[in-house]
Every structure is written in C-alpha cells, then in structure tokens.
C-alpha cells in the first residue's frame, strides 16, 4: 500500500461543517483579471473592457509583461463626456470598436466586458453587442459579460465569460463529453488522450482554443467541470439540456483519478478499462509527489480567499502531501459543485467564506501557519513578518490539473518553504 492511500479519511469529511461567513474588506481581484488567462486560451478573441482608468490600470498591473506584446485586450476608458449622456456613450463605443476591428482584422470573437462603472451607469453592453454583431456580420461574433468587481470576484470573471458563450454553442443531442473551464493546452491534450484511451472519443472543451471550435451542446451532453468557480456556466449548460457529472476537481492524483472515473462511469466504461488506462499514470504521479511530500508533510497551511480553488487545493495538500490545514478561506463556497471535495476534506477543518481582511490577518497571526496562500498584495508584508507565503495567482496561471501536473502543483507550495530553509541571510 502506498503512503497516500494509507491516510485514513473521516467518513463525513466537511460536508456538514460550519462555515464562518465574513463581510468586511475583501482583498481580492475583480473578475476582469480573468481576461489575463482567457485571452491566452482563446487565441482569436479580443476582450474590450468598457470601464475606467482604474480598470485599465488593474489589467496592466495584473498582466505584467504580457501587455507589451500587442495584447488582445484593451479598455475603452469612459470619460466625463460619456457620463453626460448615455446615447453618446453608445456612439463612442461603436467608434472605439470600429477602430479596434480595423486594427485587428484577425479577431474572430469580441467580448465587451462590463466593469463597475459601466454597471453603475447601466450601460447596456448586451444591446451594444447585438448592435455591433449586426454591423460586423459573420466575420466577427460580439458577446458581452460583466467582469465588474461589484458582481464578480476574481475567477468568477471566467464564469461570466463562459456563461456568455453557452447560448451561442452549436446544438447537438449526440452523446458527448464536455470539459468546462480554462486549462492549458498541454493539459487539454493529456485529457484528450486519457479520455480517448478510456473509450470516450467525442470530447469538447469550453473555452476552446479558437472561436471557431466551440463545442456542441444538447441533451446528450455530459459535462465535467475542470475548475470549481463555474456556477453560472453550469446553470447555462443545464438550461441547454446538458448534465453535470459530479466529481472532485482534477487537482492532485486523487482528484484527477476520481474526475476521470466519474466520467467513465457515466459513459459506461468498465472498471477494468479504467484501471488499465489510469493506474499507471496515477502511480507515476504519486511517485513524483514524494519529493514535495518531504518538504510539506506535517506543515500547517493557511488559505486567504482568492480563486475558489482553495478547497480542492486544501484537500490535495492535506490528503496527498500530509499537510495540516489551518483556516481554509474561499471567496464563495458553492456547496453543490464542491460536495465531493468537502466530503474529502479532513473533518474539523476551519472553513471561512467571504473576508474581513484585518480580522483574518489577526487569525493568521494567532495560527502561526508554516505556509500562507494569499494574494500578491498581502504576500510581501506577510513575508516581512516572518511568514512563508505562496501567492495564489500563480495557481491560476500555471498548468496544474491532471496527473502529470500533480507534482508541479505540489512544487508550487514546496518551493517557498525550501527557499526559506536555504537562505542564510
């Protein structure tokens, strides 16, 4: 028996665990940040934020150097004149989009992305998208969603984006599998290979790499979530007749295995086939985890809320790497989508939802964790106070899903601890 499955699991996990709900200052990104990885994923899409200078500044701060390579995102900055009268703002938007399309004729899909100011002044971007869609015809599809901070927290921007894609997916009632949520190309290809070896050949990915490759959806569609923050996208898919396959998320060996098996079961694949296809890569991945386990086992980890990946990450760190969980904070806890994850989480884990950052920092001080997972605004100040931190945005930018990435994911948490041990200054 290997060391991972040797860990005993309390039967009920955290399914019915109490959750501390906080409503103070939230030290999180808004949904616009999702553009940074979404535009990398859909390679012929452009994201036009209709917002303020703050939105533009956020994007360039969060996107860092990506900005310098003629990015496929931009901000239409609302100014005083636009605030004076709304009709004017619509004309202005049309002018800006026309200029943009002239400049970037290769763009096939344009998202008009709502922001806090555009929501507050009630600029109707869905109507603008219809109008502009008519204007540009078949060459350019125009959609809209809101990535505003008043409606979306960080990764929820991806949820809003994908939800806006669902109504335009082609219809098909054929039996098929859809994987929902941005994954790196290399992860997509690995997933496709395993599904194919399992005998599931008709597999679509949402979002796709190119706007022209949108997967079909209909009554025969089963979908697996690759990310835990896709509440609205799932609802939209269900509205189109698709059915969600309940599963933990494909993070770590255990999560990935259960994720594939849930799909296999739905498609009537035999246990024997699952074992033949999945056991070898799972075992290889377990061995790859061993090095990080030495660094991480027995260490206490504290999660500040950020990406909604916190609960699957905590499950992985606790069960496969032997870490002790201190507080696990998440911006929003979707009990239904996370039911399988919560059941696996060690009983007694302290869960919190929402944030009051000052009070949470107080709790962090008291808990004295060995590793703090937090946003970039908090990381250096916590390091300066002696904590070791892992800044969480890397978790959404790095390929971490699947067997082959399990050790990479563990390494993201192990490296800060190893580095701290290394430094003699």
């Amino acid at each position: 028996m290997n060391e991972i499955s040797a860990i005993t699991v309390e039967p009920a996990g955290c399914s019915d665990a109490p959750v501390l709900k906080e409503r103070g200052q939230r030290e999180v990104f808004c949904g616009l940040t999702g553009i940074v990885w979404l535009h990398r994923r859909i390679q012929d899409a452009f994201f036009l934020v209709v917002g303020s200078r703050t939105c533009a500044h956020l994007l360039q701060s969060a996107a860092g150097v990506m900005i310098f390579a003629e990015p496929r995102f931009a901000t239409a900055i609302i100014d005083e004149r636009d605030l004076a009268g709304l009709a004017d703002a619509n004309d202005e938007l049309d002018r800006v989009v026309t200029r943009l399309v002239e400049r970037r004729p290769e763009i096939k899909l344009l998202f008009l992305v709502g922001s806090c100011p555009s929501e507050v002044i009630k600029l109707d971007l869905s109507r603008a998208a219809l109008r502009l869609g008519r204007k540009f015809g078949a060459d350019l599809r125009v959609l809209s969603y809101s990535g505003s901070g008043i409606e979306t927290t960080f990764t929820e921007g991806e949820d809003a984006c994908l939800a806006s894609l669902v109504p335009v997916l082609p219809a098909s009632d054929a039996a098929q599998l859809m994987v929902v949520g941005t994954v790196a190309e290399i992860v997509e290809d690995q997933f496709r290979r395993y599904f194919s070896e399992l005998g599931i050949h008709d597999v679509g990915f949402l979002p796709p790499r190119r706007a022209g490759e949108l997967p079909a959806v209909g009554k025969g569609t089963f979908f697996l979530l690759a990310q835990p923050f896709l509440a609205n996208t799932a609802l939209e898919l269900e509205r189109r007749g698709a059915e969600r396959i309940a599963a933990p998320f494909p993070l770590g060996v255990e999560g990935t295995l259960a994720w594939f098996e849930a799909a296999a079961q739905k498609f009537g694949i035999s246990q024997a086939r699952c074992r033949a296809v999945l056991d070898a890569p799972a075992e290889r991945a377990r061995q790859a985890l061993a090095r990080c386990r030495i660094t991480l086992a027995g260490r206490k980890v504290f999660f500040f809320p950020d990406s909604q990946l916190e609960i699957p990450m905590a499950r992985f760190l606790a069960r496969e790497l032997g870490m002790t969980l201190s507080e696990v904070g998440t911006p929003f806890l979707h009990r239904e989508h996370l039911a399988e994850e919560l059941a696996l989480l060690p009983r007694g884990t302290f869960l919190s939802e929402g944030q009051d950052v000052e009070r949470q920092l107080d709790r962090c001080d008291e808990e004295k964790p060995d590793l703090v997972v937090c946003g970039m605004g908090l990381a250096n100040p916590l390091e300066a106070r002696g904590f070791t931190t892992k800044w969480s945005i890397e978790l959404v930018f790095t390929p971490v899903q699947g067997f082959e990435q399990a050790a990479d994911l563990a390494e993201l948490f192990a490296r800060p601890l190893r580095r701290r041990a290394l430094l003699k200054v």
């Binding site: 200052q25 939230r26 030290e27 999180v28 990104f29 808004c30 616009l32 940040t33 209709v50 303020s52 200078r53 703050t54 533009a56 500044h57 956020l58 360039q60 701060s61 900005i67 310098f68 990015p71 931009a74 901000t75 239409a76 900055i77 609302i78 100014d79 636009d82 605030l83 703002a89 002018r95 800006v96 200029r99 806090c116 100011p117 929501e119 507050v120 002044i121 505003s148 901070g149 008043i150 409606e151 927290t153 290399i186 290809d189 890569p281 290889r284 991945a285 061995q287 790859a288 985890l289 090095r291 000052e358 970039m376 605004g377 908090l378 250096n380 100040p381 300066a384 050790a407 990479d408």
Partner: protein, 504 residues
C-alpha cells in the same frame, strides 16, 4: 471614450495612495468596489514594501448598492480609526464610488473624529495619478500646517524638501542625495515630505525659510500655497545633471543667503571628465529621443544635449499638466514637443525619428526593444527594476555619475553590437556571440551537446507546448533520462517518465 491598451498614469486615487503610503501616521479610507484592492500590490510587489499601504477599502458589491453604501463607508472609517489610530485621515472615492455620490467627506466629518480628516475630491473621469498625488499632498499640507516658528538667532537657514512619494522613480535615493547636498552647503533640512513624514512633521513646514520642489508633479501646488500663505519662496529646479545641480545649488544658496562659490568649486561629478575624455568622442551627435514625466524628460534632454553632446531629436511627456514647460524646452532644441498619453502614438513618433538612443519609461524600453534601438529608463511609471538594491540617485552630483553610466552604457552595447555585426563572418569571431558585457553564455551554447536520442513526432509536438522558459530544461532532462535508460526514441511516455523521474 478613449481606447487604451496601456496607460502611463493610473487613476487619481493611486496618486493619493502614493502620498498616504509615503507618510507615517496617515490612513486613507477609500470608498471603492471589490477589486480596487489590486492597488496594494503596486506597493508590495513593485516597490517591495514590507507593509501593506495604509488604506482601507469599503469593497462594496452589487448587493450593497441596493442597501446603504453610506453606512458601509462610515463603518469602514470608524473601524479604521479604531484599529490604526492615525494622526490624520484621508477619505475619498475611487471612480465607481464617485458615481454613486455618497459624499465620503461629509460622512467622515460627521463622525467627528479627534484628528484632522481630509476629504479628497479627485475627479476620476478627468484627472490622473500625478494630479491625485499633487492634490492629496496639497490638501494634507493645508489641513496639517501649524503656526510658523521663527528661526532662532544664529541658527542655520533651513528648507523643506517636497515631492518624494511612495512608488516614485528613484525618490528614495534622490532624497538622500539632495539632503546630503544642501546640508553640506550649510542648510538644515527641516522636513522631507511626503516621504517619511508624519502629519506632525507637516505642522512644522512653515518653520523653514524656503522650500525645495523636488518633483513639480507632486509638490508644486503645495509649494505655491505655502508661498502664498507663509511667504516661503521655493526652488523649482530639479537637480538632475551637472548643470541643473549647479543651478540648483546657486538658487538654494541665494535663498539661504550663503555664498556657494567655494562649494561649487569643490563639488563636482565624474561626468564632467568622463564626457571630455576622448573615448567619449563617439557619443557626439548621437540622436536621442526623450519621453517621460515632465521633470525627468526636460532634465534628461538637457543632460543629453549639454553634458554628453547628443542631439535631441524628440522630447515629450504624458503629463498634460506640464505641457507648457516641455514645449518650451523642446523649442530650445528646435523640435516640436510630443504631448501624448497613447503609447502607440509615442511608438510611431520614435519610429519616425529613428534615434540612436531612447530615454523613456518602461513602455519606451519595450518600444525600443521592438525597434532594436538602445534604451535607458529615466522616468515613472515604475517597474520593479526601478527600485535597485544599490544606491542609485538621479539627482545631485552622484546622480550625474549615475546618469553618465545610464545614458552611455546602452550605446556602448550598441557600438559593440555594431562591431560584432561587422565582423560576424570573420573566421575568428563566433557569429552567435553575445556582447561581451553579457558574458559568454551565448558562446557556450554553441558547443552543441551530442544528441543521443531522437524525438518522435508526438513527443516533439508536446515539448513545444511546454512554456518556453522551461522548455530547454525539459528537453535536456528528457534526453539525459533517455540516455540513462538507453532509450533511442523519445516518446510521450519517455517525456512524462522523465518528468516524473526528475520530480521525485
């Protein structure tokens, strides 16, 4: 509506944060939606500050908009006062909160806190970061100044140094250098603000004999008000470069009633001799394009033209507030100033001018890189590289030393590259050698490692999907693994077996 892919300046509340974060004992309560807290990372990541900026955000969400965001704001102010016990508080709104018109100033004043509460009206849809910093500093100065205490008989003349902020381009070292300079001249520094000052320090501003405006972008408004109110004259010469530093010293000495003749004879910069030494001859007439904030753009154009013998072929700023000053300077070089905050237009202007050197912001550095032109960064907006660990001021005589290096090293590299290009085909040269100051890394790579295994098509394709910055390592490791295992053809399985092997 303006299409923007990148902006030189953030919104005005970022300017207010730069002032609040620079100071001690000040807290800023910002009425702002969830997500605006991204601004914290500018300070903790770019400037590597070891504390969070002293800012509380209300982080309201849609559900709060239907309810009472005003109460939310009042609670945030009361809680922040209770927790941080500041000596003074700034209150204001970011762009979205400006639209919901909760009147943060009025709400905060209604709480009747026992400290100065300074309401900030920073129109987010008209103005930008530098305006926000300037206005915030001006309002804070007005709110905090105390009565003037006359200089005791026989005491040294004194000055305040105004303008340095958090997230400022080389502000930390400029303050140290200028402080050293004026103290050596015989002038006492009364207060440096905002960087490092408390509200109590601001109360003592009127005690100084005069003010030094280090960066007009942030300090001119406050200096003008102090002049009007307390009759304090101010020095508005940024001491960047040898000539400007001399002018600065003369002006300071005049206001302090000191004779600076001996001082100026004794103090100088290596730039003076280095620029005259014959190996600098090749710099003559090199064309240079300068773009940045007004203070740095104007000063660097002067250094380039008068102290290094370059030819200024372009000069511009993104700061419209200082368009007049930059236009006047450009006229002196016989060119039209570029006043513009769209980097695509700046790129077009640089392309058209085809200079030998670009002096600009981080954005111009990238533009120059794309165009293959040497470049040095001389102005905000800042990047993590603009906070060097070493002492590296731009101001004063030491700053002039730094400038000589900064403005000539990219060109030496350029010359060297040129020579390499010329001799590239020479049998004694390696065509792929990097410039010598980059070491011999590139040359070493030339020694091709013997490839022991071949990659099959699927594995090769997979390898290409690995992010480029780790791809080389992945290839080497896999080949090493294949060699160890005596595998002749690298397949997908080999690739991932190797990955797992090196991970464990």
């Amino acid at each position: 509506m303006q299409l923007s892919l990148w902006t030189y300046e953030g919104p005005p509340h970022i300017g207010a944060m730069r002032v609040a974060t620079a100071m001690k004992g000040v807290h800023y309560v910002l009425h702002a939606p969830q997500g605006d807290t991204y601004a914290d990372l500018l300070f903790t990541m770019i400037e590597r500050r070891d504390e969070r900026p002293p800012v509380t955000y209300t982080t309201f969400q849609a559900r709060d908009l239907g309810g009472d965001t005003a109460t939310l704001f009042k609670k945030a102010v009361a809680d922040a006062y209770e927790r941080f016990k500041p000596q003074a508080m700034l209150v204001g709104a970011s762009c979205t909160a400006e639209l919901i018109q909760d009147d943060p100033g009025g709400l905060a004043l209604a709480l009747d806190l026992p400290i100065p509460v300074v309401p900030l009206e920073l129109p987010a849809y008209q103005r930008k970061e530098n305006y926000g910093a300037s206005e915030t500093f001006y309002r804070l100065v007005r709110a905090c100044v105390g009565p003037r205490v006359e200089r005791a008989a026989g005491a040294k003349p004194s000055c305040n140094i105004l303008g340095p902020t958090a997230l400022g381009f080389r502000h930390r070292d400029d303050v140290a250098e200028v402080t050293r300079l004026v103290e050596k001249l015989g002038v006492r520094v009364n207060v440096v603000a905002p960087l490092g000052a408390t509200p109590a320090d601001l109360a003592r501003l009127p005690d100084a004999d005069f003010n030094i405006v280090l960066y007009a972008e942030t300090a001119l408004a406050a200096a003008l008000w102090l002049e009007k109110t307390f009759g304090q004259k101010f020095v508005n010469v940024a001491p960047i470069g040898v000539g400007a530093t001399r002018d600065f010293v003369k002006t300071v000495a005049e206001l302090a009633g000191i004779d600076a003749t001996d001082f100026l004879r004794a103090e100088t910069s290596r730039l003076v001799w280095y620029s005259r030494s014959i190996d600098s001859t090749y710099l003559t007439g090199k064309t240079v394009f300068v773009f940045g904030d007004a203070t740095h753009a104007v000063a660097l154009a002067r250094v380039a033209a008068e102290e290094l013998g370059y030819k200024v072929v372009g000069l511009g700023t993104y700061a419209r507030e200082f368009a007049r000053e930059v236009r006047a300077a450009a006229k002196g070089y016989g060119i039209e100033a570029l006043i513009c905050d769209d980097y695509l237009d700046v790129e077009a202007a640089i392309k058209a001018a085809a200079p030998a050197l670009v002096l600009g912001t981080q954005m111009e550095r990238h533009i120059a890189k794309r165009l293959g032109i040497p470049c040095a960064v001389i102005s905000a907006p800042v990047h993590v590289q603009d906070f060097p660990a070493r002492y590296s001021p731009f101001m004063g005589f030491e700053g002039a030393n730094v400038l000589f290096d900064t403005l000539t090293h990219p060109l030496m590299m350029g010359l060297e590259e040129h020579l390499l290009g010329m001799f590239r085909e020479d049998f004694e040269f390696s065509g792929d050698a990097a410039a010598s100051h980059l070491g011999h890394a590139a040359a070493v790579v030339l020694e091709a490692e013997p490839v022991t295994a071949v990659w099959d098509e699927a594995a090769e394709k997979e390898l290409k999907k690995i992010p480029f910055f780790v791809r080389g390592k992945a290839r080497r490791n896999t080949e090493m693994f294949a060699a160890e295992q005596k595998i002749g053809v690298i397949s997908l399985k080999t690739l991932y077996d190797a990955k797992a092997h090196f991970a464990s």
